[in-house]
């Protein structure tokens, strides 16, 4: 297993390096310039030129690239053009918020998706299965930003059940006791996590249903039934264990989905996470922040994929990590 793991880590590093290089080229070649004045304000070319010089943008692109790699090798991500603070600190502030959102959404996604998928497989072709098939297809087809806007409108603006944005109440939070603080965070988390989680759960449920149905047709399930085991035991102890393996491999794929979905959801709910940070940075042509967030996300996706493979192998003795 160790040689496999080392090969995968080396490949992962190469992928992250390639992403960093491609992103560097893409952001510098994309139309638009950093340091433009706010929209509708007169520009001062001399001031912009001084800023460009100050941040090293007057150097040829290969020189900038080498400097970027050099800084990266020392663990430095540079200073934000638009927020004038270290990129690492900005990412450090935003990352926990995205981890909280994506983690909760992932939990919702898999808990709901697996439960619904199992429920459907156990009642295959009955009315409840057909209804849930349509419902999960509906959620799976929804654009995350649209679902977010609808939830925000209904449960935030109309019913006032949940806040319409942000991560905590800016006025009350500090004065709340610990329980109140937790409750306040959960209220703010509910709608964005539901938005991401529901869309993901739609896909997971369909996947889980199909995997479980396939497992239920296997010989060992027939044997289990022939031995007289109760249907519940057949489903949970025999078929589900096998049917969970492909779903576990979905974990690795869910991470990129959650992180890209977070860009839109964080924007809709003004959630100060990595996605919103990246979206704002792209608009402002804030190269160091775009590069920093891309690097982090690509590393997370590579790592997620690796972890999913390891978990799958651990759960399935038929898989040997030697290829």
């Amino acid at each position: 297993m160790l040689p496999w793991l080392l090969r995968r880590v080396a490949a992962g590093i190469a992928i992250v390096f390639a992403v960093a290089t491609l992103t560097f080229a893409a952001v510098h070649l994309a139309p638009g310039e950093p340091f433009q004045p706010p929209e509708g304000r007169p520009m001062n070319p001399a001031a912009i030129e001084r800023l460009r010089r100050g941040f090293g943008l007057d150097q040829p692109l290969p020189v900038q690239y080498m400097r970027y790699l050099g800084a990266l090798a020392h663990g430095e991500l540079g200073e934000s053009f638009s927020r004038r603070r270290p990129v690492a600190a900005m990412i450090g502030n935003a990352l926990p918020n995205t981890v909280l959102l994506a983690g909760t959404a992932l939990l919702l996604d898999f808990a709901l998706g697996i439960a619904i998928g199992v429920f459907q497989a156990a009642r295959v072709r009955r009315r409840s299965d057909v209804a849930l098939t349509n419902l999960t297809l509906f959620f799976y087809s929804l654009p995350t930003f649209w679902l977010g806007l609808v939830l925000l409108l209904v449960f935030g603006q109309w019913l006032h059940w949940f806040p319409v944005g942000g991560i905590t109440d800016p006025v009350l939070y500090d004065a709340l006791p610990l329980g109140g603080k937790v409750l306040d965070r959960l209220r703010h988390l509910a709608l964005p996590a539901l938005t991401l989680g529901l869309v993901g759960a739609g896909g997971t449920a369909r996947f889980q249903r199909a995997a479980l149905l396939e497992a239920l047709g296997q010989d060992y399930v027939r044997t289990a039934r022939a031995k007289g085991l109760p249907e519940r035991a057949v489903l949970v102890r025999h078929a589900l264990r096998d049917a969970l393996l492909p779903v576990i491999s979905l974990l690795g794929l869910a991470l990129p989905f959650l992180l890209t979905g977070a860009v839109l959801v964080e924007t809709v709910f003004s959630w100060p996470g990595l996605g919103k940070l990246a979206a704002d940075a792209i608009s402002a042509r804030d190269y160091p922040v775009v590069l920093g967030t891309t690097l982090l996300v690509s590393a997370a996706v590579v790592l997620g994929s690796l972890v999913a493979d390891v978990i799958t192998a651990a759960a399935d003795p038929r898989i040997r990590l030697s290829a």
Binding site: P31, G32, E33, Q36, P37, P38, E39, G40, R41, P42, M43, N44, P45, A46, A47, I48, R50, L51, G54, E79, R83, R84, R85, M90, N93, A94, L152, G156, Q157, H160, F162, V164, G165, G166, I167, T168, D169, P170, V171, L172, D174, A175, L176, P177, G179, G180, L183, D184, R187, E266, T267, V268, S270, P272, K276, L277, D280, S283, A284, R285
Partner: protein
């Protein structure tokens, strides 16, 4: 659930703040801040916060003019005098203090001028200060400004662009590092509010300085809450999670605020105007004239073919005006009957186009000349829903006179790049102006102006603008501006489309709300929440 949280607060803090000096105002902002070191940033939201933390020597009165000093009220300077036509002396208020203790002195004023004019800092206000030769401090409470030349807005330039900085905290910070200086993330000022904290991407909190020498602010806390965009910010205010927003902009947003029930709307003169700019040079090649827009008759025809009143009604439902020149509503003194808006006259427009040889030879509904269709691309930032609406309306209206408009929505950064490179036919632009036309008009329409992206040039217009900026009296300046805008209207380098009436929404429990068109929150420290209208959120932390 929300009630549960409020109950938790009540239980944890019974009593809380009460009386005249309580109240928390949450402002819904549409973006995070850049830095809180004034010379370094020109972003609107940063300037809003500067207004609370840093003082000027004097500030514009709510309806003050920029010519002479009559339109200004004292801030750090208690009085001022002209000792000769080129020398302005300010006498500082001895009560003024930095929030960390020391007195504000004339040395701070000298230091501030040096900082704003230092090339290492790259301040956007440096050019505006170029008329000032020196600033000296004869004593600790006297600052002496020497000007290079005499002009009507000397006082405005001396006081409006600079917010006085604490020399004792910044003198040792290398100027080359001010863009990213720590001070910009935790500033110490001399204004009505002191910095409390700034949580990246979430909130900025200020607390009233109860010892503020011009009077204790009534609102105890002011919190900016950063939303993703205007719609998200309006939603926060409508949902009661924020108390104020300075601009609602569109009729749907205004209706949402009206329907909310707990908000009061405050209309005020807007500082922006929007227009379609023609590129008089070929798209991407400034060495050649534009095949369509180099001809002033064609440009005039397009102005005549545009029903601006109808567009204004469709998009703004009356909450905007058609500017007769490159002007915003905050320059009230320039909205005079002498400046006439060209009529909507498609017959005259068609006649002009036919007269210049543009006819529909092949019967496809689009005019052409020598094999070239009368067709152009119009670039518009995709971030502006209003301008995209206008682009589509223009497309429809100009089609009626045989002109094809190809609308190209694109990201704002791309629009900027295309404008700077001259790589466009026409663009829908919006400009936010200063309290005076002096800075923006030459920059946007003057020959060689850094924002004159359409390459418009007319020596007569430039002379008239120069006469306006150097006029000795407000009346003479006004006459010169009217003449200049008349020239511009005749040359038609663009179609002036709308100048918005801004509408702010503020929670109805807030009293004494006054909004200055050029600095929305500058008078915030005079707003208050009457004791009988304080709610649980106002009392928290008292």
């Amino acid at each position: 659930m929300a009630l549960g949280i409020l109950s938790a607060v009540s239980c944890s803090r019974r009593g809380g703040c009460s009386g005249e000096y309580c109240g928390t105002l949450v402002i819904a902002g549409t973006s995070d801040l850049t830095t809180l070191l004034p010379p370094v940033s020109d972003a609107a939201i940063d300037r809003d916060v500067f207004d609370q933390i840093f003082l000027r020597l004097a500030d514009l009165a709510p309806d003050g003019g920029t010519i002479g000093d009559a339109g200004f009220v004292p801030q750090l300077a208690r009085t001022w005098e002209w000792t000769d036509p080129l020398t302005l002396v300010f006498h500082l208020d001895p009560r003024a203090r930095w929030q960390d203790g020391p007195a504000v002195t004339a040395a701070d004023v000298v230091f501030t001028f040096e900082a704003y004019t230092d090339t290492a800092i790259a301040s956007g206000d440096r050019t505006a200060l170029s008329h000032i030769a020196s600033v000296t401090a004869p004593d600790s409470l006297t600052a002496l400004f020497r000007f290079r030349d005499r002009y009507p807005e000397m006082f405005y330039d001396a006081v409006f662009h600079m917010r006085i900085l604490p020399a004792h905290l910044l003198a040792n910070v290398p100027r080359g590092t001010w863009q990213t200086a720590e001070f910009g993330r935790a500033p110490v000022g001399d204004g009505p509010y002191r910095f409390v904290r700034w949580t990246q991407g979430q909130t900025l909190e200020l607390a009233a300085d109860s010892t503020f020498f011009l009077g204790r602010p009534h609102l105890r806390r002011v919190i900016w809450r950063f939303a993703s965009d205007l719609n998200a910010a309006v939603t926060q205010v409508v949902a009661g999670e924020a108390d104020a927003i300075e601009v609602l902009l569109t009729p749907p947003n205004i209706k949402r605020a009206q329907d909310a029930g707990h908000l009061t709307l405050y209309p005020y003169a807007g500082p922006t105007y929007s227009f379609l700019r023609f590129n008089l040079r070929a798209n991407g090649d400034a060495s050649h004239p534009h095949p369509i827009f180099a001809d002033p008759d064609v440009r005039r025809a397009l102005v005549l073919a545009t029903d601006r009143a109808q567009m204004l009604q469709s998009v703004f439902a009356g909450n905007a005006k058609i500017p007769p020149g490159p002007m915003t509503q905050q320059w009230k003194w320039l909205w005079v009957p002498e400046l006439v808006i060209p009529p909507f006259d498609t017959a005259q427009a068609a006649g002009l186009l036919t007269g210049r040889g543009w006819r529909d030879a092949n019967g496809d509904g689009i005019r052409d000349r020598n094999g070239r269709k009368l067709s152009f691309h119009l670039i518009v930032p995709s971030s502006s829903a209003v301008r995209q609406q206008y682009a589509l309306l223009l497309q429809e209206q100009l089609k009626a006179v045989g002109v094809e408009v190809l609308v190209d929505p694109m990201e704002r950064a791309t629009v900027d790049e295309r404008l700077h490179a001259g790589a466009f036919d026409a663009a829908l632009e919006s400009w936010q102006t200063d309290p005076t036309p002096t800075s923006s008009v030459p920059s946007i329409w003057g020959l060689g102006g850094p924002s004159n992206f359409g390459h418009y040039g007319n020596a007569t217009f430039d002379r008239q603008v120069a006469a306006a900026t150097s006029a000795a009296t407000p009346e003479a300046a006004k006459a010169a501006w009217i003449a200049a805008f008349g020239t511009l209207a005749h040359d038609a380098p663009g179609i002036m489309l709308f100048s918005v009436d801004n509408v702010a929404a503020v929670d109805s429990r807030v009293a004494d709300v006054r909004i200055r068109p050029d600095s929305w929150w500058a008078l915030l420290w005079t707003w208050r929440i009457p004791p009988d209208k304080l709610n649980e959120r106002d009392r928290v932390g008292g």
